[in-house]
């Protein structure tokens, strides 16, 4: 297995994995989407809401605000010592107390734990007009993406096959060059060359249009993986997902041993 970074930013990574079965690549993807824990508001107490939005609407909007947090410091609520009642080890309160006229932003929340705070301070939550008031206590907890999409650590997390394009006995009719919707084929001298194989979507337009059947697009075991993260660096998301997968594999081995003995 070989990994090669194509793009390497804090919030987005694109990399190529070579010679790996699809199942493994897909399990990494699923672990990232569904199993990496993040912090999000799950419960709100509304003491006062005279704004134009209903309480439920507010709860929904506040829930979607991504929170930055040190995840290792907190427990899952159902696995916490408090037995799911809620304690400082498994939840954080964010208080909001504002009066209109004013636009309420995510940065207006006052957190119990200064380390847990919204990733962006300028997400508009609700617009308050003259005389309107908002008094809310939002309770954030750890969760995973398989419970609700607001706990997903990523927005885009996908992979695609990097195909192999083979051209032989070509008559240089240029039909495939024109047919390719992503313009990755080009005539160079007496040959047709592939410009940027990573862009190929395997639409097979070039194969359909070729009269000599000279062009072949084949699947390989190489994949282009894209991760675009929200509340933590993309590399950390990947690392956590792989660790979770590893633990699951160990657990599976234990079960198998148990069955065999």
């Amino acid at each position: 297995m070989e990994v090669e970074y194509v793009e390497d930013r804090e919030d987005k990574i694109v990399f190529i994995i070579k010679n790996v079965p699809v199942a493994l690549v897909n399990s990494i993807r699923r672990a990232i989407i569904g199993h990496v824990p993040t912090m999000a508001v799950d419960y709100i107490n509304v003491y006062m809401n005279t704004s134009f939005l209903y309480d439920e609407m507010l709860a929904h909007r506040i829930g979607l605000i991504p929170l930055k947090a040190d995840i290792d410091k907190y427990n899952f609520q159902d696995k916490c010592e408090c037995g799911g009642e809620g304690c400082p080890n498994c939840q954080v309160s964010l208080r909001l107390n504002v009066e209109g006229p004013k636009t309420v932003y995510s940065g207006d929340f006052i957190s119990d734990d200064p380390e847990v705070k919204p990733v962006y301070d300028n997400i508009p939550v609700v617009e308050l007009y003259e005389g309107q008031q908002l008094m809310i206590e939002a309770v954030a907890r750890l969760g995973t993406g398989k419970e609700h999409a607001k706990w997903k650590p990523v927005s885009i997390c996908s992979y695609k096959i990097i195909p192999k394009i083979e051209i032989s006995d070509c008559s240089l009719c240029k039909a495939c060059v024109e047919a390719c919707p992503r313009k990755i084929l080009e005539i160079k001298g007496e040959k047709i060359v592939v410009n940027d194989i990573l862009k190929c979507s395997m639409c097979m337009e070039c194969v359909k249009v070729c009269e000599d059947n000279a062009i072949k697009v084949e699947e390989t075991d190489n994949y282009l993986f894209t991760i675009e993260s929200i509340s933590m660096p993309a590399k950390e998301v990947l690392k956590r997902a792989i660790n979770i997968l590893k633990n699951k594999a160990v657990e599976m081995n234990e079960i198998l041993k148990h069955i065999n003995s």
């Binding site: 134009f52 939005l53 962006y120 508009p124 617009e127």
Partner: protein, 66 residues
């Protein structure tokens, strides 16, 4: 109010909304503004293009009902 996240891909977009509005007020086209903000995917782009603020419409009727 402007959606916090893109309906389709789940990327956070609301923090760019005010900047986008400012860019439009400067006379830029939506395309230029979105390109400058780095919004690539068409799912996120349509969130900006098709959004219409309802809350100030509602505000006109404040005190009229109930």
């Amino acid at each position: 109010m402007f959606p916090v996240r893109c309906f389709t891909c789940g990327a956070v977009i609301a923090h760019l909304w005010e900047e986008y509005k400012k860019k439009l007020a400067e006379g830029k086209s939506p395309k230029e503004a979105l390109d400058e903000l780095g919004i690539e995917r068409y799912c996120c782009r349509r969130m900006f293009l098709t959004y219409k603020s309802i809350i100030n419409e509602v505000a006109r009727f404040k005190g009229a009902v109930g």
